[in-house]
Every structure is written in structure tokens, then in C-alpha cells.
């Protein structure tokens, strides 16, 4: 059985799109930058269209739980269209269905790249994404059953995504044993994108081509992505926020979050932050 699905998984605002822009440019044969609105690199796991196209069901007649039951089958079938890596972006935590069955098509999965970012910076960026303040965003990052819900008011291209809490999300992906996972820190991409993107290519056994690599690095530079969004807009941007590519820095939370909120986030996600080196062994903030 062909195992070709590659998950590009993350809590929102953690570098997933950055990597997708890099990969889209790296795998593109063109000398021009890939249009950010036509990345043409696989799919999104919450795509209503892929689920409907590959199951035949009209999912506007189904509950969110019933939709989840279709996803594994739909994406297994969708992945058959690809000889090699079938990339799927997801913000869903690695969860099972209420029946105990896999929500993710693990038997067709090759590997996952999991992007992690300092939750303090995530809180700032996630607040922008949701069109809310950092306190509310941080609250959501602490909810054990948090979902990015599909709108109840109108038709939505995306279905509900179960995120869990920030720590719950990280643990769900990084402690499962169904397939190999490469954990990539957002801050490491910022520090040395060349090294990090190379390690992703190596992990996925994608042959290295220096010409393509240099081109892709340039086109996926944060400022270039930001410029592209200013020129053409970005269809993956949440309607609640003004711009998707906003700051793209590490430690930016220091300008925005109150001491109380910083402490609250640390208390809630202490173990995970320590494990991924956002806190020192003695619990001091590193970034």
C-alpha cells in the first residue's frame, strides 16, 4: 500500500504556511514565484470540497462529527492522485473519532512535519487571526476542547477543526507513534531558514537541488510573502484579520502581552514550553 501522505501540521500561526510557500516554490518548475493564492501544494485537511469530491456526500447535511467520519476515507482517496508526497496542511490536533477509529488516514501516511512556535507569540498572532485581543486568544489556547468552528451562519469552505489546547495539540502530534514526525521550531526557521528547510527536505527524502533551493528560499522570505499579500491579498487569511503575514518575529509578545497574561500562559503550558526550549530547566523564559 502506497504511503504518501505528508502532514504539515501545526497550531495556527506557527510557520505552517511559510513552509508550504517554501515547498511550493521548491517543487515548482517555474522561475517565477508561485502565487500565494495558488500554492498548488496538496490540500487542507478541513477542505469541504475534497471531502465532498472524494466521498460524494453533501456535507452541508451532516453534523461536524459526521463530517469527521468521512475525512480519513476522503483523503486516502485524494492521495491516490499523487505518486509521491501528497502534502496536507492541518490545524487539527491528532485526535481519534468518538468511535475510537482514526480520524487521520494513518495507513496511507508517510510522515508529518510538526511546526511549533512559542505560545506567547502564538497568542499575539492568533489574536490577530481571530480578530480578538490576546487575552481571549490565550483563553482559547487553554481550552482543552477548543475548535476552530465552521460558521453556523453561512456556507464555509472549511469544516470544523478540533485544536484542543495549545499543549494538547503539541502532545497529540509529537507523542503519537503511527508515523515519523519531524518537529520544527518556528524560531529556528527565523534564525536559519536554510538549515531548517534543508532538514525538512532530508526528512522527507526529497532530492536536494541547490538552484531550486535558493530560488525557493528567496520567494518564501517573510518580506516577500508580506509584499505578495499586499499586492494580491491572501485567500487563506481569516476574514477577521486585516493581514495574514503581519510581524513574523520572535519575542514580539514582549511588546503586547501583560505580565499577568505571560505568566498565565506559562503556567498553563509549562511542561510543553520547557520540553521545546521556550523555558529553561529552571523555568526562565528563553525567548
Amino acid at each position: 500500500m502506497k504511503k504518501n501522505i505528508v502532514w504539515l501540521a501545526s497550531y495556527p500561526k506557527s510557520g505552517n504556511t511559510w513552509c508550504r510557500v517554501f515547498l511550493a516554490n521548491y517543487l515548482s518548475k517555474s522561475d517565477e514565484p508561485v502565487n500565494i493564492n495558488h500554492l498548488n501544494i496538496g490540500a487542507i485537511f478541513s477542505s469541504r470540497q475534497i471531502i465532498e469530491d472524494n466521498t460524494g456526500f453533501d456535507i452541508s447535511e451532516l453534523t461536524a462529527d459526521e463530517c469527521d467520519e468521512l475525512r480519513s476515507f476522503a483523503f486516502e482517496k485524494w492521495a491516490e492522485n499523487y505518486d509521491e508526497n501528497a502534502f496536507v496542511k492541518t490545524h487539527d490536533a491528532f485526535v481519534t473519532l468518538p468511535s475510537g477509529e482514526n480520524m487521520f488516514p494513518v495507513r496511507k501516511t508517510k510522515a508529518a512535519v510538526y511546526f511549533i512556535r512559542n505560545p506567547l507569540d502564538v497568542a499575539v498572532s492568533f489574536a490577530n487571526h481571530l480578530g480578538t485581543d490576546p487575552e481571549k486568544a490565550a483563553e482559547k489556547m487553554c481550552e482543552n476542547k477548543f475548535c476552530l468552528a465552521a460558521s453556523k451562519k453561512k456556507y464555509n469552505q472549511q469544516i470544523r477543526q478540533r485544536l484542543l489546547s495549545w499543549s494538547g495539540h503539541v502532545q497529540s502530534w509529537t507523542t503519537q507513534n503511527n508515523f515519523p514526525v519531524l518537529v520544527v521550531r518556528y524560531e529556528n526557521i527565523l534564525e536559519n531558514s536554510e538549515r531548517e528547510f534543508q532538514s525538512i527536505l532530508q526528512f522527507l527524502n526529497i532530492p536536494y537541488n541547490s538552484e531550486n533551493f535558493i530560488k525557493a528560499l528567496k520567494y518564501s522570505n517573510f518580506e516577500n510573502m508580506k509584499k505578495a499579500e499586499q499586492e494580491t491579498g491572501f485567500k487563506e487569511k481569516s476574514p477577521a484579520c486585516k493581514t495574514f503575514f503581519k510581524v513574523g518575529k520572535s519575542g514580539y509578545y514582549k511588546n503586547i502581552l501583560s505580565e499577568n497574561l505571560i505568566q498565565k500562559i506559562i503556567n498553563e503550558h509549562f511542561a510543553c514550553m520547557k520540553k521545546y526550549h521556550y523555558l529553561s530547566n529552571s523555568g526562565e523564559l528563553i525567548i
Binding site: 469530491d53 460524494g56 476522503a74 453556523k152 469552505q157
Partner: protein, 304 residues
């Protein structure tokens, strides 16, 4: 369920008279000769000669099985029979919702008809259809044109086309629309008493019986509506082979049936496209889009 004790209701929808053991208030009552029966019974475990083995469904040329866990299994055969096997404690409203959409559409395919993913209105005794993917606003535009210009409605989600004596005809469906909250707001409807189509599915069922025309019509125009990315609404006539290719994409449940009914569909589409003009409309998502869309369509209808 004891067959002898079962109450039956008789309805008309999609040009077909139906006898049903399940109550379908969305359909119009009928007293004509019955062509299709809907009954409770045992659904086969699987099809012997299936052509497509999908997710919880199987299809052969004359048979279709689908299982909506945990509500019911449906068996559709020979274009004239639907059998429903409900699960224990299944909600009848859930069963009915599946029955009057995907399940009955498979019966229409089996009958050699062409069900299009389109809403429709009646204009001077002819049919004008609005084909679009889910979420683009098929129901909303048909209802808006009804409210603004008085055109009777003939279909909400599925419009059936057939050919009689080599001439295309359009059958009305049934007088009920499925609407999202934002459509209800745009149309200025009151949703206080509207039921959801199913529990925990946030789409409303809207009865449009007073505005509905039931019958057979000659087709006049087809508008294919898509979401565009420009500031203004764009409209252009589709001609030649493009017309065929564009409409083929709007055959209802095309992904589910693949090419099983391609020959029947080709025949009807060919007849249809000889008789109708077809326009593609790219709409935008500004707040005035519905009004502009209605005016654009009305202008085109009037010029035709």
C-alpha cells in the same frame, strides 16, 4: 414495520408520482398514477455487481445502497423503488432529509433523467436555471428574483431535465428551500419559526409553497454562477463545446456516480444545449452582491 399497517402518502416531485411510507411534508400531494414507491424494509448488505464501491455506498447501473450511520440504510433500484432500513431510535426527520436529497437523486439518475445542481424560476412559461456549486447562492438568487420580480420558483437545489420527443423539458422539484442564516438575512426573511434541516446542522428549511410553480416547462436560459475575485459582477455568454463542459460539471452527485449514466446524460445535455442559451456569471462578495446579481440577471432575461 408491519407492511399491512403502514400508512402511505402520495406525492409529486421532479415530475414523478411517489407513494411513500415516510411522511414528506416538503413534497406536494398527488393523486396521479404511482411510478415510485418508498417503503421501510430490509436493505441488501451489498450489491453483487457493483460498479462503484464508495464510502458507505455502492452503485451499479440499476441499484444503489447508501448507509448513513447511525440513522438508516437506503436501497434504490430500477428507478422505481426506494427501501429504507432505519437504525434503532433513528430520527425520521434525519431519514427524510437524506431521502429527499442524495437518495432520490440517485433514483432520478436510474430513471435516465438529468438532475442538475441548480435552482430555477419560471419566466413566461419557460424555465430559467441557476447552476452553481454549494455555497455560491443558488437558492438565494432564485428566491430574490421571486421576491423582486414575481417569478415563480421551480427548484431549490436540484432541477431535473429530460427530453420528450427530442425536445428538452424541465420538471419542477418541490417547494422547499435550504437556507443559511446569512441568506435569510439578505432576503429579509424571518427565521423565528424555521426549523433546521437536521438537529445540529445549522441550515434552515424554508417552505416556499405560495411562490412555487409545479409542472413541466421548456428551458430558456441557464446561468452558471461562480465566485469571482473582481470588484464587479462579470457576465459572459458561454458557447460551443464550453457550454457542454461547464454544464456537465453541474450534474448532481457527478462525483458519486462517475460516468455510469454518461450516455443518458449526454443525450439530454445535447438536446438541452441546442435549445438554451447559457451565461457564466462571476459574482463578488461585496455586501450588495445579491441586488446587483438580481438586476444583472433580470436585465439579461428582459433582453432575451
Amino acid at each position: 414495520m408491519d407492511k399491512k399497517m403502514a400508512t402511505t402518502y402520495t406525492y409529486s416531485a421532479f415530475g414523478i408520482n411517489i407513494s411513500s411510507e415516510i411522511k414528506i411534508p416538503e413534497f406536494l400531494p398527488s393523486s396521479g398514477d404511482i411510478q415510485v414507491t418508498v417503503s421501510y424494509g430490509e436493505v441488501p448488505k451489498k450489491l453483487d455487481e457493483k460498479i462503484i464501491n464508495g464510502f458507505r455506498f455502492q452503485i451499479s447501473a440499476d441499484e444503489f445502497i447508501i448507509r448513513y450511520k447511525p440513522w438508516a440504510a437506503f436501497y434504490v433500484c430500477n428507478g422505481n423503488k426506494i427501501i429504507i432500513q432505519p437504525e434503532k431510535d433513528a430520527d425520521e426527520n434525519d431519514i427524510k432529509t437524506f431521502l429527499i436529497s442524495s437518495v432520490i437523486v440517485m433514483l432520478l439518475h436510474q430513471r435516465g433523467l438529468l438532475p442538475l445542481h441548480a435552482s430555477g424560476i419560471k419566466v413566461d412559461n419557460k424555465a430559467v436555471l441557476f447552476a452553481a456549486n454549494a455555497g455560491v447562492g443558488k437558492s438565494t438568487i432564485a428566491l430574490d428574483l421571486n421576491r423582486k420580480y414575481g417569478y415563480p420558483l421551480i427548484a431549490d437545489d436540484v432541477t431535473v431535465v429530460s427530453a420528450i420527443n427530442n425536445l428538452p423539458v424541465v420538471y419542477s422539484s418541490f417547494p422547499s428551500a435550504k437556507l443559511w442564516q446569512d441568506s435569510i438575512e439578505m432576503l429579509g426573511l424571518l427565521n423565528k419559526d424555521l426549523p433546521f434541516i437536521r438537529k445540529d446542522v445549522f441550515k434552515y428549511r424554508f417552505d416556499n409553497r405560495p411562490a412555487f410553480f409545479s409542472g413541466i416547462l421548456e428551458p430558456l436560459l441557464i446561468f452558471v454562477i461562480e465566485n469571482g475575485d473582481k470588484e464587479n459582477i462579470e457576465i459572459q455568454e458561454i458557447k460551443g463545446v464550453d457550454k457542454f463542459n461547464v454544464l456537465r460539471q453541474h450534474i448532481f452527485r457527478a462525483k458519486m456516480i462517475n460516468e455510469i449514466y454518461a450516455v443518458e446524460h449526454f443525450k439530454i445535455l445535447t438536446q438541452l444545449l441546442k435549445s438554451v442559451s447559457c451565461f457564466k456569471i462571476l459574482k463578488h462578495n461585496n455586501s450588495n452582491t445579491l441586488n446587483e446579481l438580481s438586476v444583472t440577471i433580470q436585465d439579461t432575461i428582459k433582453q432575451w
